[in-house]
């Protein structure tokens, strides 16, 4: 055996001597990206570079590996590769050079095979193999002498038809053995150091989606047969796991995005303590609309490095996602292709040795190693320092990150934090803005405001006093003039056509009464108000200060702006007109239009006021913004309500009833519109396909 190995090694070194350069690459076939705060993928420099691809010939082995399903690094310089198809284990060193192979596993004189084994773990001087089809876990020493075998435990906790199809195995520092078995929805099986079954651990919970709740209620009415045939909502089984230095068990689940939480970190009790605050779903958040049953991330393995950074392996697109403990994305790399170095046919397991990331491909039977470049290394280091609260240390690192990717949001965040601590608030605000951190931006602004108020206290007081005085004086003057106008003409100056909408705000009953008596309704005035509304809406969209504004200029959509203002308004007017015509309302369409339009003035003004105020208020003072907005809204509501009551000559009760029916009318109009637009788009798409087919087939 040893002799053979020597020959093999000679052949390998011989090969290396002849070949020009050992197989290595600096070319990166996949494109670097990450997700920004708006969950959009954005280009970034590639972070991890494929370094080498190893296969059996590099190790001088004669038989190719057959479905190597798992591997495990023991942190002592040995990487154990489970060559399941050949029922052997290959031991490599940290440089991925062959140490030895364990060709046979013997138990009480009998050679065991485990051609469909799914998992391996190595700790101390023991190797643990999860033999899936054999329904057992083998525990062996380092030369292949099997010491013990765990089979299906005899426990009341297990359901009758439960087969112990062990897929993955790991062992904690107290020698407790954790086993993931196929289809075990109850969770991970835990055995103690004496191989006795103890408990289930870390059961996934069923997330209460609408569908689950629906089925819960439905089940109450179904027959037993129907229940049996309907889908059962069981928790998604754990797919794979790893154990961190601190004894935390990290699990991944093949749950789809709608179910959330496909990655968890479990404490001793089995409770998830990975914060869901930063991230609910790990992996790709964008969808591929080209595929019907959309393939999203399918996590099959997880590994944690000594910094607590974890690497998730996505089999759906052959990618490794690298996150910090806080759920911050460090880097994404890899792909599903197979003919290019750095991509895989069927990625099965991921492991780290130092900063090197290894991915095992069970179909190509290769191990690909990746190393971080300066960019990924700096980002990772900076995130770790930042998470520890070492902002000063992370500052220079973040600046290095910006040199390579000036659009990195985390870098701006980290830099802003330091500027804020240094008291350089305006610079901090600038970077918080680039880092899309509204809360922190607001805090920095508050500090800046405080500083400003302290410095310019006297001036501000004087300004405010001056402004109040100015307003008081002008109000008195205007009042005087108005009074004089009334005295001279017998009606208020506000009742002139141009000012009439404003008059109606203060005296709705009188004003709208005049609609009938004097025919004062004016379409032009109404249209001007609507245009003003649209403008106010747009100004608010673009003009609101960053910390109150979740939307970006690129998100603006003229259609939805129109629909949200004038469109909605017109639907209301039409519905009200239709309803009140049936309900003996005296108001004409024109008067309804004008009443509703004039009534919107306070709301529109409040929109502008909140936009302006957003520059002096912080998020803590957000309640003031709301007050202003609600005052405007309430005023508008009152005016419209009173106005409608007046023009229709309704009682209060009847007005309320009419408004309620109007709401129903609005719903019906929407329904018809949706119906029509659906029909229309179908006709269009039909015509389009006919045209397409004709032009392509002919």
């Amino acid at each position: 055996m040893k002799y053979k190995l020597l020959i093999a090694l000679c052949i390998v070194t011989g090969l290396l001597g002849i070949s020009v350069r050992a197989e290595s690459t600096e070319f990166v076939p996949y494109y670097g990206y990450e997700y920004n705060s708006y969950d959009e993928s954005v280009p970034v420099p590639e972070g991890y570079i494929p370094e080498k691809v190893y296969s059996y010939r590099e190790w001088g082995l004669e038989t190719p590996l057959q479905t190597p399903t798992d591997f495990c690094y023991d942190d002592q310089g040995s990487l154990y590769v489970l060559d399941a198809g050949n029922s052997r284990v290959i031991v490599l060193d940290a440089e991925l050079k062959l140490k030895k192979t364990i060709d046979s596993f013997v138990f009480e004189g009998e050679v065991l095979t485990f051609s469909e084994a799914g998992g391996i773990f190595a700790a101390g001087d023991r190797i643990y193999i999860a033999d899936t089809s054999g329904c057992r876990v083998l525990i062996s020493d380092l030369s292949g002498n099997v010491q013990s075998i765990i089979t299906r435990p005899d426990s009341v906790l297990l359901s009758e038809n439960f087969e112990f199809k062990a897929q993955k195995v790991l062992v904690d520092s107290a020698n407790n053995i954790y086993v993931v078995a196929e289809g075990s929805t109850e969770g991970i099986l835990v055995f103690d150091a004496q191989y006795q079954f103890q408990r289930f651990y870390g059961t996934n919970t069923v997330t209460r989606t609408a569908e689950v709740i629906k089925s819960f209620f439905l089940r109450k009415f179904l027959t037993k047969e129907q229940i049996r045939r309907s889908t059962r909502y069981t928790p998604a089984p754990v797919a794979n796991f790893d154990i961190g230095k601190d004894g935390m068990v990290y699990t991944v689940t093949n749950a789809d995005q709608s179910k959330g939480l496909n990655f968890r970190g479990l404490n001793y009790k089995g409770n998830n303590i990975v914060s869901a605050e930063n991230r609910q779903y790990y992996g790709d958040t964008e969808w591929d609309r080209l595929i019907r049953n959309s393939v999203n991330t399918r996590l099959v393995d997880v590994t944690v490095d000594s910094d607590g950074v974890f690497y998730l392996l996505d089999a759906a697109r052959g990618r490794v996602f690298c996150y910090t403990e806080e759920g911050w994305l460090v880097s994404v790399f890899g792909g599903l292709d197979g003919s290019l170095k750095g991509t895989f046919v069927s990625p099965a397991a991921v492991e780290t040795i130092g900063e090197k990331v290894l991915v095992l491909d069970d179909q190509a039977a290769t191990i690909t190693s990746f190393t971080p470049n300066v960019y990924a290394r700096t980002v990772k280091q900076a995130m770790l320092e930042y998470a520890k609260g070492n902002y000063e240390e992370s500052f220079t690192l973040w600046q290095k990150v910006l040199d390579q990717n000036s659009f990195n949001e985390w870098a701006h965040l980290g830099i802003a934090k330091v500027y804020e601590e240094q008291g350089n608030y305006s610079e901090a605000m600038h970077h918080y803005r680039l880092g899309v951190a509204q809360g922190s931006y607001s805090n920095a602004m508050r500090s800046l405001r405080e500083e400003y108020v302290n410095d310019h206290f006297l001036m501000i007081v004087l300004c405010i006093a001056g402004a109040i005085a100015l307003i008081a004086v002008s109000v008195t003057l205007i009042r005087k003039r108005l009074r004089r106008f009334v005295a001279e003409n017998g009606y208020s100056a506000m009742e002139k056509p141009a000012l009439f909408p404003f008059y109606s705000l203060a005296h709705p009953i009188d004003a709208f009464e005049q609609f009938r008596s004097h025919g004062k309704a004016r379409y032009t005035a109404g249209i001007v108000v609507l245009a003003f509304w649209l403008v106010a809406y747009v100004i608010r969209f673009f003009g609101t200060a960053f910390h109150f504004n979740g939307s970006r200029a690129v998100d603006f959509n003229l259609f939805s702006a129109l629909a949200g203002t004038i469109g909605l308004f017109m639907v209301f007017v039409v519905a009200n007109w239709a309803v009140t015509t049936l309900m003996d309302g005296k108001g004409t369409f024109k008067s309804i239009f004008c009443v509703s339009a004039y009534g919107m003035i306070p709301y529109c003004v409040s929109l502008l006021c909140t936009t302006a105020l957003s520059y002096v208020l912080t998020r803590q003072d957000a309640v003031f913004l709301e007050i202003v907005l609600y005052v405007g809204l309430a005023w508008s509501a009152v005016v419209v309500f009173v106005g409608l009551m007046t023009i229709h000559q309704y009682t209060v009760g009847k007005t309320i009833a009419a408004l309620l029916i109007t709401v129903i009318g609005i719903v019906i109009i929407f329904f018809i519109m949706i119906l029509l637009s659906g029909l229309f788009s179908q006709i269009v798409s039909f015509a389009q396909s006919v045209y397409e087919e004709i032009s392509i087939r002919l």
């Binding site: 600096e26 070319f27 990166v28 993928s41 590099e58 673009f542 396909s689």
Partner: protein, 765 residues
Amino acid sequence: MSILKKTVMTAAVLLMFACLPVLSISGSGIEKQPDAQTSDLGTSAASGAPVVLKTEIYDGIIVEYELVADNGTLQMYADLRYGYFFWQDKTSGKRWFSIPRNVEDSKQKAKSQVIVHYIDSTIESNSPYADTVNSFAACIRDENRVTVKRIKNGISVTYPFVDEGFELTCEYAIEGDKLVAAVLNGSIKETGTLKITAVDLLPYCASAGAQDKGYMFVPDGSGALIPLDSSKDEMIYTAPVYGTDKSANVQTQQFRSEPVRLPVFGIRANEEALLGIITAGETQAEIVAGIHGETNSDTAVSARYIYRTIQSTILFENDWANRQTVYSTQPALSAIDRFEVTYSMLPEGETDYVGMAKRFRQYLIDEKGLSKKTLQSAFTLSVVGSVKIDSSFLGIPYRKLLPLTTYAQAQQIASELQGSGIDSLQIRYTGWQNTGLQNDKIPVKASPLGKLGGKRQLESLIAYAKENGISLFLETDPISFVKGGNSVRKASDAIKDSFGIIAEQHQYKRSVYIVDDSVPVVCLLTPRKAVDLAQKYAASFSRLNGSAGVSLSGVGSVLYSDFGKKAMTTRDQTQQAFEEILDGFADTPVAVSGGNMFAAVRADTVYDCPVYSGGHQLFETGVPFYQIVFHGYTRMVTDTMQQAFDRDTLFLKAVESGCDIAYTAVYEEPSELTYSIYNSLYSTGYTYWKDEAAAYYSRYRAVASANASAVIVGHRMPSEQVSETVYDTGCRVIVNYNDHEVTIDGVTIGAMDFYAEGKNGEKIA
């Protein structure tokens, strides 16, 4: 039955070995025996001439080689019944055979001189039924159907594929010190329903046996080597020369690749080497290399002639129930007369990839007008003048021209860089004219942008560049556009796919690979129209100011055909059009990007020249073949540092291959860029990289300037991740890519560093 067959076969093989000891000598199809005893072998059955060599290539099929041509340098011997041949160097006596000589009977492909790929579109299935047929199995094995005729200096062989219903003729002849093999396009006949898609010409001529040591060379990116004793299981590498055809609507894009820029390939087996150059029809060629295995009979590299392509489109894309993919086969191409590959055996001492590059360079000098130039190495500043982004004013959307670097600011950046020690500078100015970085319309007039300072500022920049020895290239894109205008109509002047639909060029989402809808769709201009408009533009450009060069970006990096019903255009015709465009700027220095062969031989500068080979699993290592060919003849610049996978590595790649380094520069990065389609312009603000650039430059300066016009005469890899480049100036540059220091020939080189010495051994850097 099978046992019987096996025994017979084994016996046949044994017999072969016994009869012809010559067979067991070489595993690569190469023989060193100068002359066999002709008298012993009798006379040929076909012509009665003396036979120099007899080989049983298959059970019962004996090939008799007789002399068919002799041009003083080479002799060609062929079998006039089957069309097999070899040629021999008269001085060295080296021979090369058209097929490998000692493969077992089961590997029938390896006994073929032609493999035809075809599709059967009558079979209804999800994808067209595709298959291949080889000339041995179809025309020779059961009944000899081939017709061999003698032509001047060679033979012409007609292969009738009776069962498949097609026929084609190839010519094999010697010319000077080369063997020329060609598929005659006019001879291809299809009589049945099957349609030919591709023809592999001499697929196993450049082949090697399992025991041979050496490598195959493929021109992927800068060039790559595939070891003959590859540790890979069976795998095949194929790549189209000059990249994929852009005349297709592509729905998804997953990975990045390095296109083939040069129509060349080679093999080195033990001490022998063969170089193949596709000398005609290269725009319709694919380079194919494979390791022996189940489907690929032997380890070999060859050229494939793409006769037709198949395109697909999705019908009823939004209707899941009826959605289907339909295929279309393009009509056969008639624009080229012949698809021609020229093979040369390389002389002793030049049998490596450097020798191949040298021979290929000679071909470019002799045939393609490549000429030696006096070049100056320079740091390249790739300035982005402006971009057009989607913006809105009070909610009304419009396309906004966002200035990034004005002419005065470009001048300021240049002067600051010069101040920090970058004394030799070149500026590539993109987005300086009407519509910014990406054309909205095809430009027909070289008109400076008012927003960037107008004509006066531009002229002052040009004057500044002239005074300070900065060569300035103003970039224009004569082929891509977003919307019609300037006499271009999208409906008629954009290239179309074989369904007659406009071939839209997209950007793709890096996460899920689908088309990114937020990016405006780019169309490509039909070659004829492009020439017309480029000529107008050239006239206007020469009036602008004589001393600026022009950069014609895409002309050097993409190639396409057009299936528009009005004017079908092949890639060959597009190449001719592009050549016309390049020649249209006669008195102006021209730069291109990418560097396809026909563009690179005409250009003074190649931007984004390939320095990597594109990580195919078969590749063992990348080699700077491209640079060995062009160094001293064309100035080459790498991708900008912002696009590097790793900046130090890209820098060392530049040092290794003698390219200049580049940075993308903008004066300031407005935050509007972050959420625009130009979100990959990160870290282009020049303050981010100014110091780093100066540091790289000062490390590289001495070596680069000493060898700017020099020719690379040697390149090797003395140790793992270490390369050595030797110039004709005597300068030697050793680059260490390892993360630890290495000692080569007594010189210690630090991690990720390099060492350079002059011809007398004095250290330069």
